[in-house]
């Protein structure tokens, strides 16, 4: 059990790092997705199913979707300028 928690913690630290170093927002969206999936896993392991549930629903689905739409809108704006 202990090594599982440790592994999940290290993975969340690494995926957070990944979000920061993905300087291109388009890549960053996927890093964000990965980060929140890892976090959701960590929350499951930390005995917080409620939280993991909402992490998956909000931060892996809705928020990246909003990011993608925003990026699409920005790209469209660029094209129209």
């Amino acid at each position: 059990m202990s090594w599982l928690i440790g592994a999940a913690l290290v993975m969340s630290a690494l995926s957070g790092w990944l979000v920061v170093i993905s300087r291109d927002p388009k890549r960053q969206v996927f890093a964000l997705c990965a980060n929140s999936l890892v976090l959701a896993l960590l929350f499951f392991i930390l005995q917080a199913p409620d939280v993991a549930f909402s992490e998956i629903a909000v931060d892996t689905v809705v928020v990246p979707l909003l990011f993608l739409i925003a990026l699409a809108a920005i790209a469209i704006n660029e094209g129209r300028r």
Binding site: V19, L42, A48, V63, L71
Partner: protein
């Protein structure tokens, strides 16, 4: 092991701040902000965690079995919704900024000063 969780919290906070400070794009900066936010999730859940305890949901096991702290979980739930709302608001602002200024470069966007 006992300090690993707290080190991860400090790392996530620090790395998020580093990312924001070196960011050259509003959208990227918003992503880094959410890394900072995730540090608080890990901190809160880490505080409530208890070795060998189950989830605070007494459906499969009877009330009275050891369970982790439900209060911090309620906090994190609040926190997640807040962060999603904040992200949406920031993205909306960033979108409008891009419409008006045509750039999202943090180095060039300064209120009340003309675009360089």
């Amino acid at each position: 092991m006992s300090v690993l969780a707290w080190c991860v919290v400090a790392w996530l906070l620090g790395i998020g701040v580093y990312g924001m400070v070196t960011s050259r794009n509003y959208v990227h900066l918003i992503g880094c902000l959410s890394v900072c936010q995730s540090a608080t999730y890990v901190l809160l859940l880490g505080i409530g965690f208890r070795w060998g305890a189950g989830p605070p949901i007494f459906y499969d096991h009877p009330p009275g079995t050891p369970a982790v702290d439900p209060v911090v979980q309620a906090f994190v739930l609040t926190d997640i919704v807040v962060s999603a709302a904040m992200t949406a608001l920031l993205l909306a602002i960033a979108l409008q900024v891009h419409k008006k200024r045509g750039t999202l470069d943090t180095q060039h966007l300064r209120p009340l000063r003309p675009t360089e």
